[in-house]
Symmetry: C2
């Protein structure tokens, strides 16, 4: 019988995988909350329950951590579109991301404002490909005469995306105008419904 060469990873005192993951998780929360400039690696380390130096050990400092995080999340947020039925339903689900995946939405919003210029192509291509499929769906609807042919599908998609992110990007406006907490589940579901309704009105109900 072979000797117990290594205990279960969960009971290990030293577990590189766990540590890496803990740092990444904490980084997501911190960067999503405060953006790159506002994030503090001391806060990330504290949240992850590890020594601050490990961030330099595993990743290459703050910048490297941010890039690693971007890579890790780049391909992760496209699952929702796969299972959605109609484009209108896709819009609703995208809006509901603010409820179930608020950090991802915030990261995208920070990324937009911090965006300075065309980075490496590889950086955006995966997302672009995924979105391109949505554009194709819209074009198909136009071919069927269900969606006005005057509309530029690309612009429409971007408008819907931005609209879906509104509770994250404009919480102050939501609260000032409607007097409700933009992050509350009640508002987020209501808003997602409204957006789906709006998409239906445009003819995106398949």
């Amino acid at each position: 019988m072979s000797p117990r060469r290594s205990p279960q990873p969960s009971e290990r005192q030293r577990d590189p995988e766990r540590t890496r993951a803990a740092i990444l998780d904490a980084a997501v929360a911190e960067f999503a909350a405060h953006g790159f400039a506002g994030a503090r690696i001391a806060a990330i380390a504290a949240r992850a329950g590890v020594n601050q130096q490990l961030i330099s050990y595993y990743f290459d400092g703050k910048e490297g951590l941010y890039q690693a995080l971007s890579e890790a999340w780049r391909d992760r947020d496209g699952d929702l579109a796969a299972t959605a039925t109609t484009p209108a339903e896709q819009v609703r689900r995208y809006a509901l991301e603010a409820l179930h995946n608020a950090d991802a939405v915030r990261l995208m919003a920070w990324g937009g404002l911090e965006y300075s210029g065309p980075a490496s192509d590889a950086d955006h291509r995966p997302r672009a490909e995924r979105l391109q499929r949505s554009v194709d769906e819209l074009k198909a609807l136009q071919a069927d005469g269900k969606l006005s042919a005057d509309l530029d599908p690309g612009c429409l998609l971007i408008a819907l995306m931005a609209a879906a992110m509104a509770p994250v990007t404009l919480p102050h406006v939501v609260e000032g105008l409607l007097g409700v907490d933009a992050r509350s589940p009640e508002f987020l579901t209501h808003y997602a419904d409204q957006l789906a309704l709006l998409a239906n009105t445009l003819g995106l109900a398949d």
Copy 2:
């Protein structure tokens, strides 16, 4: 003949008003470009061509400057709605703000992401009142049967606002998907037209 008590303000060597204004202008550019956490008061002072210390002298440090800036801009961005004819036209003009008033749009976007919770009521009331009038217009359209009564006017307005800001909040997506510079006048006008078209489709054409 009275002695020349003071030369024209423009030739003065020391002109508090001019200095204050220069700092505020520079602050708008810097905060719009990098957000609060990313802004550097050294950069603001350099841009304004004044000594860095004057920021503490006139305003109360970085925080105070940001608040002063918010106050100064709070009532300034509502003029566009006044002269617009139809709601669809309002939407187009709002989208074109990204072209003529990019800093204002970016400041609002940063403000949304940096927003932590209900601040002083006075902070958002002026904007809320202005937006409330837009909501009233939408309600009137619903009463006339021109706009679907199922839609929540408040949510619709917020969705349109966020959509109009898309070139500012999602430039990376625009460039990844459409392959064009999200800040170029060509795209911005095209996008504004598209958004007006979309608003028309919804029934916002007066």
